[in-house]
Symmetry: C2
Subunit: 268 residues, 2 copies
């Protein structure tokens, strides 16, 4: 199995509604799939421990997707077993006045991982192209310029030791309807409700087209995009966890070598 | 059982070497104690979920202790089950040039929790009194002034919605010797070795006296200090987890109430 190959955004990606429900990695048995996710999550945590000890490279995981696509659930399900010492999850929200008075990469750059750190971007700089573009605040030319800024920014990060993995959580419009409605039905979930999400839903098709464009403009071998079918929460976690394990395996992580001098020291 | 009462720093605290090995909460059976820690850690994670949903108060946990006293192990063992969405662990290291050109609370203030967030300080602003004081860089008067700054800073945080819990992990000099030596013997642990720790060890008694002073000067009912016997790792986690559960219980956390209007909305 090569999950990265399977989910890597193809050239000329078209986001199809029915693709959101695909489950190519599923065993057909949900309980088994969940156990597999738990196992992969443990593997990720074990690798992360070595990655932290190595204290050399940096790991940046970026999650994008429509509202309710499961970004929070991914943080919990795939990265929840990581040692809090080495992992940080950043939820970017609507930019503040101060943030808007800087370039759009300013607040993002401040949050990138240092050596040995794993950072998860729960939303990211991509919102700063998609949202204004959907609402006609920036034109096609400005979009193009921002994608170039993003490409060069991500390239710089990768050239300076960052391993970057970008996930687009692809849900169908129907699945979003169910999830939004479920939050409204259950009083205990009302704290998660943002009526703005219902507004944004009206721009569904525009967002889909803009995501295709965003992914096409910014996919690269150093900073690849993976398009994850996300109507099934278990399968979403399974696919993302499988990709993460492959990425970490490929990093050939190892504990730093011992220092021969240290063996001789007597602590008094 | 009231763990907070049991471990709250007494007035006129004297750090005794033999107290570091006490295990008042232990059942006498290590496996049972470990299971109890795991259970308490789950409870903390469950409370934290509501705390995050509540999105009102802020939670700041501060860990101090001599090198090898188990700050990292506490983060892992007690707080490792928390959802990365709502928790952040900050390891403060020797201040950078830029940081030194500000007041010592500047970099600390930047990292305090926002509403719904849990932040763990792995070392903290206390280092900025202890370390320079031990090395004669600041005098008793400057110490006193910094403790006043700390008191007022912490009080301000508490008055603006922060629940603060401060732990001093108390190990004996003998236990530190064992732990430092163990790192030197195992090549796989050499990456954790900082020869500076061996230097600092020479100032053991000075640090103990300064910690007594620091705790006396900054203990308060809003920002209390707990002195945790930490020669046993399991018991250390047990005591800290028990205190955290009590603190969270006392917060009377609850999911925000439902919004009656939301029940009527139909997502189309």
């Amino acid at each position: 199995m090569n999950a990265r190959k399977q989910f890597r955004a193809p050239q000329g990606l078209k986001l199809k509604e029915n693709a959101a429900g695909e489950k190519p990695l599923s065993s057909g048995d949900k309980v088994k799939d969940q156990a597999r996710v738990a196992d992969l999550a443990e593997q990720i945590a074990a690798y992360q421990d070595i990655f932290y000890a190595e204290h050399g490279r940096k790991l940046l995981v970026l999650l994008q997707g429509m509202d309710t696509s499961g970004k929070d659930g991914t943080v919990r399900g795939v990265f929840g077993k990581l040692d809090p010492l080495g992992v940080r999850s950043i939820a970017f929200r609507a930019p503040s006045i101060d943030e808007r008075e800087h370039d759009f990469l300013w607040r993002v750059h401040a949050q990138v991982p240092a050596q040995g750190q794993t950072v998860i971007f729960n939303r990211s700089h991509y919102e700063d192209v998609l949202v204004p573009a959907v609402h006609g605040k920036i034109d096609a030319e400005e979009c193009k310029r921002r994608y170039r800024h993003i490409r060069e920014f991500e390239r710089m990060l990768c050239e300076t030791g960052t391993v970057m993995v970008k996930f687009f959580l692809h849900i169908s419009k129907e699945e979003q309807q169910k999830r939004l409605q479920a939050r409204l039905i259950e009083g205990d979930k009302h704290w998660k409700v943002d009526l703005g999400d219902l507004e944004e839903r009206k721009y569904w098709d525009d967002y889909q087209r803009l995501y295709e464009k965003a992914i096409a403009e910014t996919d690269s071998d150093e900073a690849p995009w993976y398009v994850i079918p996300a109507d099934s929460k278990t399968h979403r976690n399974l696919a993302i966890a499988a990709i993460m394990v492959e990425v970490l395996q490929d990093m050939k992580l190892a504990y730093p070598p011992p220092n021969p001098d240290y063996f001789k020291i007597q602590v008094s």
